[in-house]
Structure formats: structure tokens, C-alpha cells
């Protein structure tokens, strides 16, 4: 299979992306976002959940949780490039809602085969889900989580947007080293959610403990399925970072045009101008790789792992670089709480270390690109 010249990004995908940008522009402008997630903050405390469930319901009503669900499970089965387009806009809005976690869960469930149909139907019907798959060190694995006779026991870590989701897709050990995937209601008996105090204001994160929690087994061979789904997970996360980086670029450019020092706009000075150009260059690198990876998920499975690793490694670098420059080029005001750049700075710093950082992904790319054909 080969990639279409336009990434298979057809009119429908364009309409979805435009609609999302309009939606966030109208319903979640950045001043509203700041009021929503950055009020009455205690740096030494654990932030309460700060999001707008009513706004999330609107997104669900727009069908966004069913975008990637197959038709036989009641979904729209849109191509991954369309999903990437939507998540780029969600990242541009620094959306505090479980859209990314739900679409990532969808991707993983799709890899799990027909036994996942029921779970996918729940997502198509509007449920929000997140993956419970990291151990205490942040590595993928069940850690202390055990499953037996349809019940879960143990603790998982770094669960993204746990407080906003009604379903957990849980990776648990099944004995003799095998891993399985389980589908659990967030309010199932024996489930307790302990919120982490994190820097990112647009997400929540938690440790989740299970004690004799009833769970539906969806599949075994957890590790194989997980690895099969990694290209989707990396690509979708990249989309969020690319969108956020574009916001950081445009917002800092606007500031550099308006702010005057020495009777000239900041952007006159090459020290600022060239930093912003380098942010643009880095963002474009990540964006081109993003759509190439998403397109490979749709059309070129043989290269999707390689391209998704490139997209994620590039997006993680861009997220860190764009964040630092956005604060630096804003000067003193950029260092204040009321300045909006801090919201994106923190989201990007969080995103870029999820499911492996850039160096980790380049190391895996090296195995693909160098060792693969080592003579």
C-alpha cells in the first residue's frame, strides 16, 4: 500500500478540522480557559478537577468520541488523518477534556479485535475512557496490577485524565508473565482514584487502586497488542503537541509585533526574530511528520511504526523548544501567572514525556533504521 499525495486528507477531514477550530474559538477562547483552569491556585496543593463537563457533552454530541470507532460498532470510522486534524485543534486550544485519552483508548481497542466491540460501542455512545497501563516508574506494564477470575487487584500510575473518564482500559498481569486488557467502569466497586499534584493545569493525573474490582476481560497477549497500537498512540499525542506549538508560535509572534522596546517592535531584533523562525521550522518539521505518520496508519502499515516514532520524537522536541521560547520572548510578562503562555508551557512539558521522550523514541528508531540492515 502507498500514501496518497494529499495524505488522504479529504474534504470531510478538512471540514472537521475547521469546525473544531471554530468550536474552540467560540466556546473555549484562551481567556476562558485561563479562568477555567488557573483560578485560586495553590502551588503546594493538589488541584481539584478543573474542566467544563457541559462543554465536553457538546463535543460528544458532535460525535468526536465516535470518530475513530469502526462502523460495525456504531462509529464514524474516519481516517486517522482526520482524527489527527481534530486533535491538532484540541492541542491548539489546550483542551482540558478527555478527548485525547478517549481517542487513544479507541485506537488500542481497535487493535484488540472483535472482543472489544462492546467497549467501542460504549465510546461511540459517548463514554470517555483512559488507559491504565503504566507502572510506578512510568514504564508500560502492569506493575503490581493483577487480574484473576475477572477481578483486579493492585495499583497503576500516571493515569491521564482519570478524574474525567467513566471507563478505564486496564493492562493487568494474568500470571505466568502474561498480560491482559480489561475494561472497567471508573465507579466500579473497589476502585479508588488518588489525584496527583501535577504542573499541567489542563490535565488531571492519578494513581488508580483496584481491590477485588470486577472487570471485563477483553484480550490477552497484552504486550503484543500494546506494541501494535503504539504508532497510533504516538501519532495522536504528536497531533496535540503540534497544535499547541502552533498556538505558542502565533501567540509569541503577535506579542513580538505589538510589544515595543527601544522604539521598535521586538520582532525587529534578529535575536527574537530568528528564535521565532526556528520555532516555526521545528513546528513545521513535526507537522509534516505528523500527517505522514497518520497517513501511514491509514495507508502504509509497513512504515507506520517508523513514521510515528519520527513524528513523536520531533513533536516532543518541538513542544519543549516552543515552550521555552514562548516564555523567553514574552519577557517579564511571560513569567507571570496571568499570561496565557504558562498554560501551554505546562501542557507541552507534560505531553513531551508521556509514553517515552524524544531520546527514547530516537533510540528505537535507531534499531529500525540502523540495525535492521546492518550487514
Amino acid at each position: 500500500m502507498t500514501q496518497p499525495r494529499n495524505y488522504g486528507f479529504e474534504e470531510e477531514a478538512g471540514m472537521l478540522k475547521d469546525a473544531a477550530r471554530r468550536f474552540f474559538g467560540e466556546r473555549l477562547p484562551v481567556d476562558r480557559l485561563h479562568a477555567l483552569v488557573a483560578s485560586d491556585y495553590d502551588p503546594e496543593g493538589v488541584a481539584p478537577l478543573r474542566w467544563d463537563p457541559a462543554l465536553w457533552d457538546e463535543m460528544v454530541a458532535l460525535g468526536w468520541t465516535s470518530l475513530a470507532v469502526p462502523e460495525d460498532a456504531g462509529g464514524l470510522a474516519m481516517p486517522w488523518v482526520a482524527v489527527a486534524g481534530l486533535l491538532e485543534e484540541a492541542g491548539r486550544a489546550a483542551l482540558p477534556a478527555p478527548l485525547l485519552t478517549t481517542l487513544k483508548s479507541t485506537a488500542l481497542l481497535r487493535r484488540l479485535g472483535s472482543s472489544a466491540t462492546g467497549a467501542l460501542e460504549e465510546l461511540a455512545a459517548g463514554a470517555a475512557a483512559t488507559m491504565v497501563c503504566l507502572d510506578a516508574s512510568g514504564s508500560v506494564g502492569p506493575g503490581s496490577l493483577r487480574a484473576s477470575h475477572g477481578r483486579l487487584e493492585g495499583e497503576a500510575f500516571f493515569v491521564q485524565d482519570a478524574g474525567k473518564c467513566s471507563r478505564f482500559l486496564v493492562l493487568a498481569a494474568e500470571g505466568d508473565g502474561a498480560w491482559g486488557f480489561y475494561w472497567v467502569a471508573a465507579d466500579a466497586p473497589g476502585t479508588s482514584i488518588h489525584s496527583d499534584a501535577i504542573v499541567d493545569l489542563t490535565r488531571d493525573q492519578a494513581r488508580v487502586q483496584f481491590s477485588a474490582t470486577p472487570a471485563e476481560r477483553i484480550a490477552g497477549d497484552g504486550l503484543e497488542y500494546w506494541q501494535a497500537a503504539e504508532p497510533e498512540l504516538w501519532t495522536l499525542l504528536s497531533a496535540d503537541m503540534v497544535g499547541a506549538a502552533e498556538w505558542q508560535l502565533q501567540t509569541t509572534v503577535d506579542y513580538a509585533q505589538q510589544r515595543k522596546q527601544f522604539d521598535r517592535p521586538l520582532g525587529f531584533f534578529q535575536a527574537v526574530k530568528h528564535q521565532l523562525v526556528d520555532v516555526m521550522v521545528s513546528t513545521d518539521e513535526s507537522k509534516s511528520l505528523l500527517y505522514s505518520a497518520a497517513c501511514a496508519l491509514d495507508h502504509e502499515p509497513g512504515r507506520c511504526r517508523e513514521l510515528a516514532l519520527m513524528a513523536k520524537a520531533s513533536a516532543s522536541e518541538t513542544a519543549g523548544f516552543a515552550s521555552g521560547r514562548s516564555v523567553q520572548c514574552h519577557g517579564g510578562i511571560g513569567f507571570t501567572w496571568e499570561c496565557y503562555v504558562q498554560l501551554y508551557f505546562k501542557r507541552q512539558e507534560h505531553s513531551r514525556r508521556l509514553f517515552g521522550d524524544a531520546a527514547t523514541h530516537r533510540a528505537e528508531l535507531a534499531r529500525l533504521l540502523i540495525d535492521r540492515d546492518a550487514a
Partner: protein, 411 residues
Amino acid sequence: MTNPERRDSAEQAEYRAHCRDWLATHHPGEPSVRLPTSALEIMTDEQMDYLRAWQGAAYAAGLVGCDYPEEFGGGGRSDCQRIANEEMLAARTPYFPNIIGLGMAAPTVLHHGSDELKARLLPRLFSGEDIWCQGFSEPGAGSDLASVQTFAERRGDKWVINGHKVWTSLAHFAQWMILLLRTDKGHKYEGLSYFVVPIASALGNGVTVRPLIKMTGETGFNEVLFEDLEVDDSYRLDELGKGWQVAMTTLLFERGAGDLVTPRSGGLKSSSAHTTSARAVMELAQRTARGDGLASEDPLLRDRMVRQAIREEALKEHQRRARVPALIDHPMRLPLQNKLLASELAQDTAALALDVAGPAAGLYLGDEHAPAGGQWPLAYMNSYGITIAAGTSEVQRNILGERVLGLAKSK
């Protein structure tokens, strides 16, 4: 890899088939002479004759200039040159020698020249009978191109040209030059005009071409001196005093951001050819001992090699994304990055190769034990030619910051 055939129009599909058939039987085959990395480094008549013959044959078969109007020697097609380029690349043909003519002179003449000039110049340019060079930079006019001092004084309907141009690649082979000069010393930008000048015929008679030696020790570009060279006013492109606007057209195409696809042949890997690519560095690393193992096992070198591979892939993808309106915010945002990205990528890739080679990186072209025959230090040094020429990387960043991001001009 993307399959270019998808979404060909009927005309493109038919044309692609034609290219493919012709190439199947008319590939010029391995050259008898060693070819340099690019046309800009052509040294010998043997190299030039072989490449010129190939360009002529490709033009005769309709693979060169096919998107140009027929009355000016073109093929009268639309969006087909891309097809021909793709097929020539796939067929691993040699590159075209008239690179400045095809890439810069042709579109500039088409956009700004008189119909009579187009009809006279373009066919011989496409065929390679006339090789072209570019007379822009001067000792005092580098990044600040508009400060050129080469002056043309009016005498009736003739102009008498005096001045000094530098970094003129291929001038020692060229019949024609595109020449930016000054016709009015009173105004910096409005005082510039733009001519096409026959230099081969004037050698020793108003025109002197001297080779310049690069830091690599190679020649390849020249300085060109004009002493009372007389040219006809009909050789002027566009109006008097419009030289700057014409030059902007040339530079736009030089940066790969023009509205016409440049006829491009290539892909031929002769045994002696060298490419500056992440893949080539990885292969070098797999052949290079490091400690008890191989350089390809060094985690830091692996990380850097992969970084280069990522940048290469992205640059390739830019060419595709630039054509998908839904995925670009500004039409020039990606095209104007081409020159900056390609030149800095080449520089960093060559530098990395030297680190991979280790102590042997210092061995040069004349050393039998040099890795890749000494091509890597050569490529690294030549990369500064690319980050400096045709607008330094600093100038490129200004252009991107001002034209794309809309920041205030730095000058």
C-alpha cells in the same frame, strides 16, 4: 514511499507513460568520466560534453521544459515537468548541466523577457546548447545584493558595462549570463536593471573569466570582470530600473519557491558519486571501528544519525504538504524554508560523518585510505558554500521572519 501515479490526470498519465517508455531505451548509461556531486562543480569538457548530450536528448524527447509554452520551445503542457522529473529520478539518469539556465534564467526570461528574447533564448537553453551562469554577487554586495556597483552606461540604444562579479559558477562554460547591474547611481533599488548578456562571445573582448579557488582547494566558481562591454538594449529584461523586481523572481526560483517546477534529472549513482545523507552516514558507521565495536553501535552517534534521518524525512514531506491547502497556514511558509533546511541539513550531516569517521576524518581526496575517498571533509567544507550562497542562513531567517511571520524588517 508515496506512489506518484495516484491521482495523475489523464494528460499526466499519458505523459508519464511516454517518459517511461523513452527512458527505458534512452538512458545514457554509466558515464566514462567521474561526475562531481552537482553540475556546479563540473570541471572538464568531457564531463560537460557527456551531460550536455544527455540534456539535449532529453529535451528532444520532450522531458525538458514541457510546462513552458510551445512557441518558446516548451512542451505546452501543465503540471507535467514534475512527472518527467519523477520518472528521470526513478530511472537514475544523470543530472542536467544547465542547472542555472533551467532553474533561474528560464523562468526569469519567461516572466520578464520580450517574446523575441524568449523565442530566441529558451530553446537553446532547454537543449543545453547554451549554458547559463548568474552575475549577481560582487565583492561589496553579498547579503546586501541591492548594493551592486556593476554599472551600465547608456550610449544610444547600447549599454556599456563595467564591473566585477564573483561566485559565478559555470561561467567558464557559459554562453550567457543573467546580470543584475546598476543603471542609476542615485537610487539603491530603483537604480538597478537586469540584462541577459552573451559572455562566451565576448571573452577577451570586454569580458574576463577567472577561476576562484574554494577553501576545499577546488575551483568551480569564478569571478567575471566587465571592461567596456557593449550590449544591446534589447537584452534588457523588463523595464529600466525594475532590476530588483526581476532579481526577486530569480531568487524565488533559486530558493525552490517558484511557480514553475524546474526540469530536474538525477538519481544516477555512478561508482564515484557521493551523497550527503543520513543513510550514507549510517553505512559509514557500520564500516567504522570504534573502541571494541563499531561506530554504528555508539548510542550518541546513533542518536545524532537518527536526528538527521528525521530532518531528511520532514524536508521530503514538506514538498508534499506544501500542496495540501488544508494543512498549510501560509502559501510560502514551507517553500521559503527549503533552502535553509536543505543547506543546514547537509552541513550537519557532513559534520556528523566526520565525527563518525574519527581520526580518519582528516584524510582527504588524495589519500588511498580516506573514508569515502575523502568526500566527507569535502562535503562538510562545501556545505558552507550552501549556507552562505544565495542568501546566507541568516538572510533566510530574516526572509522567513518578515515575509511569513510578518515581523518587522531588520534592516
